[in-house]
C-alpha cells in the first residue's frame, strides 16, 4: 500500500469510527471543510505513527499545517524521506 493510499484509508477508517460523514477522499479535499475534527486528526496522527513510525507534526512549524489531504500526504512523504535518509 502506498503512503497516499494509507493516509486515505486511515482518514476513512477514523471518520467511520467517529461517525463523521465524509465526502470522497481525494488529494484536493480541504479537511477543515469536512466533519473530520481536531480529535479525528489527533487520532489519525497517532495511527500513522504506529503504521509508519513517522510523526511529521513533532518537527514542523505552525505554518506548515496541512490544508488538503494532498498536503497531508506530502508531509508524510517528506517525513518518510527524512527517516530513510
Amino acid at each position: 500500500m502506498s503512503l497516499r493510499s494509507t493516509v486515505h484509508a486511515e482518514i476513512a477508517a477514523v471518520a467511520a469510527e467517529q461517525e463523521k460523514r465524509m465526502p470522497p477522499i481525494t488529494d484536493d479535499l480541504v479537511m477543515l471543510e469536512t466533519e473530520f475534527d481536531s480529535l479525528c486528526f489527533a487520532l489519525l496522527v497517532a495511527r500513522m505513527e504506529d503504521l509508519t513510525g513517522a510523526d511529521p507534526f513533532s518537527e514542523m512549524e505552525a505554518d506548515d499545517l496541512p490544508v488538503t489531504v494532498g498536503d497531508l500526504v506530502a508531509l508524510y512523504d517528506r517525513a518518510a524521506a527524512r527517516k530513510a535518509a
Binding site: Q18, L39, A42, L43, V45, A46, D55, S58
Partner: protein
C-alpha cells in the same frame, strides 16, 4: 525471572522511591504490568522488581527533563513492552525557596520538570491509548496547589498546572475512552518532605481531621483505583488524600 504477566501496561514516572515506588508495587499487586521510569534505579525499586509477581515491574532509565528524547522513549516502551494502557505522571522535584530569592534557573527547572515534561510525555503516551480506544492518565498534584504553603510558590504553581491540565485533557480525550484524573496528596512521609522537622510534622498532623499524616500507600491505592475498571466513569476530577488536613 522469565515468566511475564499479560496484564495491562502502566507507565509510572519517578518510580524509584517514595510515592512512585508505592504506586508501582501496588499496581503490580493489582494485576497491571508496570514500566517504572526513573533516572536511575534504587535499591528499593530493585527489591520491588524482585518480589513483584511474574516480573510485573520493569525498570527503564529515563531523564524526563530531556524533552526532545521523550518521543523516542515512548517508542522504546511500546516496542519493548507493547501498547500502553495507563500513565501516572508522578515524577517531580519539590525545591523549596522564597520566590524573591529563588534563582530564575531554579524556577525554570521546577516548571520544566514538573509541568512541561509530564505534558509532553502525556502527549506521546496518550496516542497509544487513543488508538486503543481505552486508557487512564493520573496526574500527581498536591494539596499545595489549592491551599498555599510558605516557600513553595513555584512548586505550588506547577502542581496547580496539573489540575488544569487534567480537567481540559479529560474533555479532549474522553470521547476516545481515555480518563484523566489527578490525585492531590497532602504532606506524606517521603523524601520530598524530609526537609520538615518533627515539630512541623506534628503541626501538620494535628491540623488534619484524622490527626495523622496520610501514607504513600494511601496515595498508591487511590491511583490503583483510578486505574481500575471501577473508575471507568470518573474523569476530570481531583482526589485529595491528606487525612483531612484540607477538610
Amino acid at each position: 525471572m522469565t515468566e511475564i504477566r499479560e496484564g495491562r501496561l502502566v507507565v509510572v514516572t519517578g518510580a524509584s522511591r517514595g510515592l512512585g515506588l508505592a504506586m508501582a508495587s501496588t499496581l503490580a499487586a493489582e494485576g497491571f504490568r508496570v514500566v517504572a521510569l526513573a533516572r536511575r534505579p534504587s535499591e528499593a525499586l530493585e527489591a520491588a522488581c524482585e518480589v513483584a509477581p511474574f516480573g510485573a515491574i520493569r525498570f527503564m532509565a529515563a531523564d524526563l527533563g530531556e524533552i526532545d528524547a521523550l518521543q523516542g522513549l515512548v517508542q522504546r516502551i511500546k516496542a519493548e513492552h507493547g501498547p500502553v494502557y495507563g500513565l501516572v505522571n508522578n515524577a517531580a522535584i519539590g525545591t523549596p525557596g522564597l520566590l524573591t530569592t529563588m534563582p530564575a534557573k531554579k524556577i525554570s527547572e521546577l516548571v520544566h520538570l514538573n509541568t512541561v515534561a509530564p505534558m509532553v510525555l502525556t502527549k506521546y503516551l496518550a496516542r497509544s491509548m487513543m488508538t486503543a480506544g481505552a486508557g487512564r492518565i493520573v496526574n500527581v498534584s498536591s494539596i499545595i496547589a489549592f491551599t498555599g504553603y510558605n516557600a513553595l510558590s513555584v512548586y505550588a504553581a506547577t502542581k496547580a498546572s496539573m489540575i488544569g491540565f487534567t480537567k481540559s485533557l479529560a474533555r479532549e480525550v474522553g470521547r476516545l475512552g481515555v480518563t484523566v484524573n489527578a490525585v492531590a496528596p497532602g504532606f506524606i512521609e517521603t523524601a520530598l518532605t524530609e526537609g520538615m522537622d518533627e515539630a512541623e510534622r506534628s503541626r501538620v498532623a494535628n491540623r488534619s481531621a484524622l490527626k495523622r499524616l496520610a501514607e504513600p500507600q494511601d496515595v498508591a491505592d487511590a491511583v490503583a483505583y483510578l486505574m481500575s475498571e471501577k473508575a471507568r466513569n470518573i474523569t476530570g476530577t481531583v482526589l485529595t488524600i491528606d487525612a483531612g488536613s484540607t477538610a
